[in-house]
């Protein structure tokens, strides 16, 4: 059976009918191992590791504890395991782990213990949903914070693959009476060359189960990789081109009903009254369900439910937030900064003294608005009560967390809940721990016979989100005679996660970051790359301002402040060289540069921008240099950097949720515009594999694009963009200003 080290455990043992073994690598209470084996095992198949199962036909099934949102993790994690197992990739399959404690995202917890990461504030901040306890007890099964590869992959998949391989070798050596060192394991086959004996992994998996996994796991050298680092095609794609992939909204079960829901349009409001009659008179309507803060109509199809809901005139107790506006929220942020008494985030040197003695002091204020996630698949969930048992179908970035929350909301034991994971039509943080769509589906299902699918309208999705918070920053820096930054003071409102997002990698001797704990009145949720989206814009825009104040080239200025950060310097240099920084941009265009380290990955981006008719910026080209330490799958990683930049570009150009009378103004895509094909820049991505600890892929591409574009606009027009989205400001950039500015530069 298992070998237990203090916190880390490798476990193995004969487990299932047909023989075989379970082995895995985890940070788990010991008793959950049996549970994982029971759930993950299948009769007739051998199980090698909690995260891998080898069948008699030699297929290898990797059990992935993370959710697929299009980031490719259902392929990348099996690649990492198969590499160390020396499996034949053609025989590798993938299975998503059940939402169960035994498959928790222990990597995140382990990274936390090791100090590489922290439990995201947005987990503990989600106390409204009862998640605090789960986070605290580290029963995490979270896909977010770019943790899948960084922790589950590096700490779990690799070691499990290597351990399983070692056990197979032991089994072969014993069977053939030869030394382990004489056994070759390659392409899912064990071979003893001298005697010419050979067997598949499947044939020996059962015998391998008799051995304890090794405690000294040796991982492959990168030069020996044959799977990792190659653009292997994703498992999930074929079902996404023929309509067969089942998203939450596609769940169809016998005798189901369809519901549409409207929550109080004012945040925190409750349902006062609603006359159900207009809806009940409509075709196909089964029921009007009243909830504390919402009303839903249940019908025989989604459209009828939606139409009948629109026929209702619910009255709401609007509550304390009914007078909120964007203006009042921004004013309260400014007031919070004016008031002082800021929280010191981090500091070194003496920033206040060095600001006083600096040759020149530069100051600038920035602001960014609220943002919605706007996943392509609107929030939805299907739920079915049968007595005290509950079945759930839906997409969750944290299946285990969702299940635990469901148990609390339904008031039943967690073991009475079956959670069926579906493919997710986008996550970006929305489907992490803000699973109010689950809560509402449970509340509706309680009052309905049979399964009910609650699908939000796009309008409901956009106005009932958990929003990326608006923020205001006041930046102040001192320059010396040589144009070096001698003091850096960064003040801002509201800090969420990750804690290091406010950190600047430039070598400023005297620095401080301080923030006001302004009470954000709008529901908050993590939004792709979280606080990096604001901080990246503040920091990298201000760096650009400082470069111009110091009469330095923005690239050279950044580079001259990276003497203690060789990885960052290399990334910046590569981006500049890719973009031909220093050479003239095509006529009518200019380039801007920005850099950000997020989730262990450093990204520098150069954007080449012109002004289109109406003064909106047009981003023609983007060059990204990326150091994630290592690249598991270059195709999916490239797509993540490109897609992350599009997500950030949408926010930079158009993204703005405004509040009026306590409710969200924007309703649908026409007034919350997205970057589309015609706006999408040509985007070249190159990697530096520095060998540093593996960084994330899903989020690091998002933050640098806004400052890169804003900085390019400054280079083009001489107008500094200190507020997002750019659509609000750039319409005022006239041709005259541009001509004047260019003339000044000449």
């Amino acid at each position: 059976m298992g070998k237990v080290t203090r916190r880390l455990m490798i476990f193995g043992g004969v487990a299932v009918a047909g023989g075989g073994l379970v082995a895995g690598y985890a940070l788990l209470p010991y008793e959950t191992i049996d549970r994982a084996r029971k759930i993950g095992g299948k009769d007739g198949e051998s199980m090698l590791a909690a995260w891998v199962r080898i069948a008699p036909d030699n297929t290898v099934t990797v059990i992935v504890p993370h959710s697929e949102m299009g980031q490719g993790v259902h392929t990348s994690l099996p690649m990492m395991l198969a590499e160390e197992l020396d499996a034949d990739w053609a025989l590798v399959r993938m299975e998503q782990a059940p939402a169960d404690m035994a498959f928790a995202n222990t990597g995140l917890a382990r990274g936390y213990l090791r100090g590489d990461t922290s439990i995201p504030g947005w987990l503990s901040g989600a106390a409204d949903f009862g998640f605090r306890k789960i986070a605290e007890s580290m029963n995490l099964q979270l896909t977010g914070g770019s943790t899948s590869i960084r922790f589950t992959g590096v700490d779990g998949m690799r070691r499990t693959g290597a351990a399983a391989r070692a056990m197979l070798i032991k089994a072969a050596a014993a069977k053939w009476g030869v030394g382990e060192e004489a056994i070759e394991a390659k392409q899912s086959r064990l071979t003893h060359r001298a005697s010419g004996r050979s067997a598949t992994y499947g044939e020996l998996a059962s015998a391998a189960g008799a051995y304890d996994p090794p405690t000294d796991i040796r991982l492959k050298a990168k030069k020996d990789y044959t799977i990792v680092g190659t653009p292997i095609k994703r498992f999930d794609i074929p079902a996404k081109v023929n309509g067969s992939a089942k998203y939450g909204i596609d769940v169809r079960v016998p005798n189901m009903s369809f519901a549409s829901i409207a929550a109080s349009p004012v945040f925190g409001g409750t349902l006062k009254s609603v006359d159900a009659a207009p809806a009940m008179a409509m075709r196909g309507v089964k029921k009007v369900v009243k909830l504390a803060n919402a009303v839903a109509v249940v019908a025989d199809n989604t459209w009828r439910a939606k139409e009948a809901l629109a026929a209702l005139k619910p009255e709401w107790n609007e509550g304390a937030k009914a007078a909120l506006t964007s203006q009042s929220i921004f004013a309260s942020m400014e007031a919070a900064l004016d008031k002082g008494g800021l929280v010191e985030d981090h500091a070194s040197g003496d920033v206040d003294a060095s600001l006083k003695s600096a040759k020149r002091v530069v100051e600038a204020s920035y602001r960014v608005p609220f943002l919605a996630h706007a996943t392509m698949e609107v929030m939805n969930c299907t739920a079915h009560f049968e007595g005290d048992r509950l079945t759930i179908w839906g997409g969750f970035q944290n299946g285990l967390g969702a299940k635990a929350a469901a148990a609390a909301w339904a008031g039943i034991p967690i073991d009475n809940i079956t959670l069926n994971h579906t493919v997710m039509g986008g996550g970006f943080g929305r489907r992490g721990n803000t699973v109010d769509y689950l809560e509402k589906a449970i509340a509706v299902a309680r009052q309905v016979e049979g399964p009910v699918q609650v699908t939000w309208t796009r309008e409901e999705d956009m106005t009932q989100d958990y929003y990326r918070h608006a923020s205001v920053a006041r930046m102040k820096a001192g320059l010396d005679d040589n144009g070096k930054v001698v003091a850096w003071l960064h003040t801002f409102t509201d800090k969420y996660d990750p804690p290091e997002a406010v950190f600047v990698n430039y070598d400023f001797a005297n620095r401080a970051a301080r923030y006001a704990e302004h009470a954000n009145p709008i529901p908050w949720g993590p939004w792709r790359s979280v606080d990096h989206t604001q901080q990246g814009f503040f920091i990298e825009s201000f760096m650009d301002e400082l470069a111009h104040a110091a009469s330095k080239d923005p690239y050279e200025f950044r580079r001259s402040h990276l003497s203690n950060a060789p990885r960052h310097k290399a990334v910046l240099e590569l981006a500049a060289s890719m973009a031909g920084w220093g050479t003239a941009a095509p006529s009518g265009r200019a380039r801007g540069i920005a850099m950000r380290e997020a989730f262990g990955t450093i990204v520098a981006q150069v954007a080449e921008v012109s002004l289109a008719a109406g003064g909106l910026p047009r981003v023609h080209r983007v060059w990204s240099a990326v150091d994630p330490g290592e690249v598991i799958n270059p195709a999916t990683f490239t797509a993540q950097i490109q897609g992350g930049a599009i997500y950030g570009l949408t926010a930079a150009l158009y993204g703005e949720i405004t509040i009026d009378k306590g409710r969200v103004v924007q309703q649908n895509f026409p007034d919350y515009e997205m970057v589309r094909m015609a706006d999408a820049p040509e985007h070249e991505v190159r990697f530096i594999e520095s060998g540093a600890r593996t960084g994330g892929a899903g989020e690091p591409g998002t933050a640098p694009i806004a400052p890169a574009v804003a900085n390019a606009l400054f280079a083009l027009t001489g107008k500094r963009m200190r507020a997002l989205p750019l659509k609000n400001a750039t319409a005022r950039v006239t041709t005259n200003e541009r001509v004047k500015s260019n003339a000044q530069k000449l």
Partner: protein
């Protein structure tokens, strides 16, 4: 009663004339490959072909589909052989979350019928569907790849 052909099979549905085709497909006929994205014709996730023309089914009343041939993502392949656009989508690994991709593929099929060798500008003009994952580079590459197939 409204009669229409979906993916080569005749269907008669008893629905309101104004019920959008999208919901007839998804909730009545169970062709869930066609997606709801916005309901106002702004995102293109619901794109299907009606007599060969790319149409946003969320804003297309069922009554207008009477007597027409509707093709959804489920009806593109011929048996086990994928349509060349679907194959190109796999070859170029276009989908990320994949939710918009049925609509993207249908829009691309219609584009290639009209312009077998589209330029980038023609792709920009025809492909107005939103992809929130931002897979536009891969979608563009897949269209060019399908054009060569």
């Amino acid at each position: 009663m409204i009669a229409m052909t979906v993916n080569g099979t005749s269907h008669t549905v008893d629905v309101e004339e104004g019920m959008p085709l999208l919901w007839v497909l998804r909730d009545v006929l169970n062709f869930t490959g066609t997606k709801y994205g916005c309901g106002v014709g702004a995102c293109g996730a619901c794109t299907v072909l009606i007599d060969g023309a790319a149409t946003r089914s969320c804003s297309f009343p069922a009554a207008l589909a009477a007597g027409k041939a509707v093709t959804t993502i489920e009806g593109l392949a011929s048996g086990d052989t994928l349509h060349k656009v679907q194959q190109a989508w796999i070859d170029m690994q276009a989908p990320q979350c994949g939710f918009c991709q049925s609509g993207q593929i249908m829009a691309a099929v219609a584009l290639l019928q009209e312009k077998p060798q589209p330029t980038d500008a023609e792709i920009d003009a025809a492909m107005t569907n939103i992809c929130r994952c931002g897979a536009y580079a891969q979608i563009r590459a897949a269209i060019h790849s399908a054009a060569k197939a």
